[in-house]
Assembly symmetry: C2
């Protein structure tokens, strides 16, 4: 389902008619093949990217080749924080993707003229901080099995936001990407998948993964 333009999905919220129109005119559409880099950490961020179609992974790299995947970006979301001066993460296409680029400074002006839009960006930031913190909570306090399960459940939930999801949830990203997202090694991901399958919590096929009902263990939930 091709989503022609990013703005419709801006922050997952509807903006005002007027602002929306101006916004659309600013955007320039571009495509990337799987594995292609869209932008890199520490580059100047003159363009603000929104994702129209496909799957993108945002990551930070360490000298020794290790990566930390910060986020998998789905259509309708920004690629990283809008309005940063310098990119704090690299963006890489996972599938074939289509992005919408906006000149940062013009977009900024647009935003300064509209408190409503500013509020949208602030809300986006709030969600982003919250997401990152939940992720951090997971990485620091939860076992490999729970982490992977939480990832699968969260992934399905996010896909469900975009439209109805089939029983079999696709996993377009590589094991390596999941590993780098969850702070584990690909081998461990593989073993953990096997272990979850043995416990009848999931079923894996070439098409993706089926989450087979089993009530989630709540060890990782919060309480006062």
């Amino acid at each position: 389902m091709p989503r022609a333009l990013f703005p419709e999905l801006f922050c997952g919220t509807r903006a005002s008619q007027g602002a929306l129109r101006k916004f659309q005119r600013l955007g320039v559409q571009r495509s990337f093949a799987p594995r292609q880099s869209i932008f890199s950490e520490r580059e100047s961020a003159a363009t603000v990217f929104g994702l129209s179609e496909g799957l993108v992974c945002l990551h930070k790299s360490l000298r020794d080749g290790r990566r930390q995947v910060m986020k998998f970006v789905l259509p309708g979301e920004f690629l990283g924080m809008p309005f940063v001066e310098i990119h704090k993460v690299s963006a890489q296409a996972v599938t074939a993707v289509s992005v919408c680029g906006f000149p940062r400074d013009e977009l900024k002006q647009l935003m300064e003229a509209s408190p409503r839009m500013a509020q949208l960006v602030i809300n986006f930031s709030i969600r982003e901080v919250d997401l990152t913190q939940e992720q951090l909570l997971l990485l620091a306090n939860v076992s490999a099995e729970q982490r992977l399960m939480a990832f699968l459940v969260g992934w399905r939930a996010r896909l469900a936001h975009l439209g109805p999801v089939a029983k079999t949830v696709p996993l377009p990203m590589r094991r390596r990407d999941i590993a780098d997202f969850l702070g584990m090694k690909p081998e461990t991901i593989s073993r953990t998948f096997a272990s979850l399958e043995q416990k009848k919590l999931i079923r894996i096929g070439p098409e993706g993964v089926v989450l087979t009902g089993g009530r989630k263990k709540s060890t990782s939930s919060k309480a006062a």
Copy 2:
């Protein structure tokens, strides 16, 4: 050095004169004793808090009693993300603290009237996301020793922002707090401190810690 009012330190940046004045009139000063709770996760966030004096720790709790400390807040910073509807973290006084509370809705209006102030909040958010991501990078990819060292170096740097720092850097927080911040156990913190001391990288006393020159191992740094 008592900092009478939070606004002077707003986001670490100077706001415009007019806005600053209105801002100051809104604030209400309050004090908390060490270990006291300032607000809790999932409470409604009708008040936006800025820290005037002391040290506060922001954390998330898990059912089983484990905690994840998300941030140590120093004077001049917000307690959590401003303008959230519901607190995503709990705030607890580490030392005696003095906070400045603003009614969220009025502050929001003030912000909507001033694009400049909105920009400040957005910039704060950008920094906040970046900080959290760096933290995540550390937790997921780096050894206990490197994590603790990175924490100490970062802590000293943040103190240095507030004013000149003596050779001996104070550590007002407990081992437990550091452990929960770094995703480790207090015992491991203790052992790691000992190990770092043996390697002559630090010296610990009751007053705090001395970072003894040693060039930092760059295993945790980033590169293209």
